[in-house]
Symmetry: C2
Subunit: 336 residues, 2 copies
């Protein structure tokens, strides 16, 4: 791209030029010097995560640019949420096959709207000519020792998930044309919005600081991500299949499909977390305060491995008949 084209791109992302009404921003030295300089609050530690989205692999070329901008930042904010970190700033590495003003305007609007919503400032960027890819590195702050980790689950803790996982996968399968019966138009649009414009659970992550014993965001499927928590925490778990949250759109689908999507759908960006059973009411209150429903779906156990029970919640946790875990290799057809 020529220098003129880079100027054009910068125009869409440089907030200084078109946001004179904004309050003070995070960057001490803004975008445009060799580095941006940011000042975390005194004594805070820095949570850092990075994610790249590539056309054809993470999104379809037909996606609305504003939704793509939203999602590129959302998946990164979701990692901060899973650590209980407060968003601070992010960098954007954009690889573009050509300068397309319509695309750039839409992409920037979706990206920056979500950034504003979470008070997370774009502090640096880099634009390269090449196949469309979006790389974001996000930084957040968290008080020392308070980051939510994958490694803290304890036997006796309750296992929770936020929102309604499974809808993003429902939309993906609708796009692929694999659903029998097909989705209604209304259900498809709702599921598609969840796939294309997920809401990172930042407020919930903050509310769970000092309350959750472990947390992870569900990006590769609930059971797969739970596996990371169990492995790192050196514990096992039982899940009550009857306690899984099923969204209204999923509820009308065949039961096997419901379970596939909720347990192994992926691309959900919900929080999967554990908390002491004695703090059950506090967890519900945290969800309410954050404006996102939280569902208790299982129990952490000392015995390694995962047990799926086909009932609901009994006096001492999940009940019902053991069900074979047919989702361990479920992930493979995703990349097929």
């Amino acid at each position: 791209m020529s220098l003129g084209e880079f100027d054009l791109i910068e125009r869409y992302f440089n907030r200084v030029h078109h946001a004179a009404d904004q309050g003070p921003r995070r960057a001490v030295v803004p975008n445009g010097d060799d580095c941006a300089v940011i000042a975390p609050a005194a004594g805070m530690q820095l949570a850092v995560s990075t994610d790249t989205m590539v056309e054809g692999r993470h999104f379809l070329s037909t996606v609305d640019p504003a939704r793509l901008g939203h999602k590129a930042l959302a998946v990164n904010l979701s990692d901060l949420a899973a650590c209980g970190a407060k968003p601070l700033a992010f960098t954007l590495a954009l690889t573009l096959p050509r300068v397309d003003e319509r695309f750039l305007a839409g992409f920037a609007s979706g990206l920056l709207a979500l950034a504003d919503e979470h008070d997370c400032e774009l502090v640096g960027g880099d634009t390269t000519a090449g196949p469309l890819a979006i790389g974001i590195t996000v930084m957040g702050e968290v008080p020392p020792g308070q980051a939510l980790l994958r490694s803290g689950a304890q036997p006796g803790d309750e296992l929770w998930v936020s929102g309604w996982p499974g809808e993003a996968r429902l939309a993906l399968e609708a796009f692929r044309g694999t659903l029998k019966p097909p989705l209604s138009g209304e259900a498809f649009e709702a599921a598609r919005l969840r796939m294309e414009q997920p809401s990172p659970r930042v407020a919930l992550g903050l509310a769970l600081r000092g309350l959750a014993s472990s947390a992870i965001d569900v990006s590769d499927g609930l059971l797969g991500d739970l596996g990371h928590v169990l492995k790192r925490s050196r514990v096992g778990a039982a899940i009550a299949l009857g306690a899984l949250p099923v969204s209204p759109w999923l509820a009308s689908r065949p039961v096997a499909e419901q379970q596939d999507n909720v347990l192994a759908g992926g691309d959900d960006y919900e929080l999967l977390f554990t908390a002491p059973a004695a703090r059950h009411a506090e967890v519900l209150a945290a969800g309410q305060a954050a404006g996102v429903p939280v569902h208790r779906i299982g129990l952490v156990q000392a015995e390694a491995g995962l047990r799926l029970l086909d009932g609901g919640w009994g006096a001492e946790g999940p009940v019902g008949w053991p069900t074979a875990n047919r989702w361990t290799s479920f992930d493979h057809f995703r990349s097929a």
Copy 2:
């Protein structure tokens, strides 16, 4: 890529597995959770920069993987150097067309050797299938108010450049076969090393804290990058062409080619900086302490614009006949 392939990639980059003899590292929470958590020293501000390198645009497919790993981090550390920031941590977003163990082993060795040299820890990563591209976001620390910026040059300041800019471009033109007469084999290998494995001037950047009034790293060519400093600082400058550093390999080339390469070569990763004339001796001492030669090449002036004089250094600064700046549009043929 399959999960197994991701495990393979992780093996090359996860230091925990093969660096048990290392001392304590920066990350409080290492790579592998949703976020890494790092703890900047108390009261420090954070300098952040991001750069992506794409095959065919920023490097040749035939480059030695270890040199590529080195350079991918070096160009980012160079941005920290230009801000006077101390390297702290970085994230790596790697897009790979296929899993090639030979490539990964070499790339990781070059990358991590330079990271170790600068005590800069790899704290997060993301691997995606796609055309080869390397995205790095680097973080460093700098005391409040001490970051070197592009905007601080003052009339009367001396203008300096480190090292010998121009060699990287010499190698690029040799690869392109445009040089008449051609380079000797020895000169080609030396220049090629400078192009493929530049040394970020981190120690010099640190030594210039509180001493330089402005700084930038030379990545797009000396005059082009100087233009950013002059514009931001709202000043002009005079350059003594006779005071330009010319490396031994460049010295044997035609004079016009020498000037092209030094003034507009690019890919140099030297520091271009200004400092008060009264602190001339301190600047020389800073270069000596950092182990890199520094060359005074010009004078900052109140009058806007850039004046190129064909002589050396007189009693009051650059002397000689004015020379037309034929390098303003020089950059265009680089992307041709």
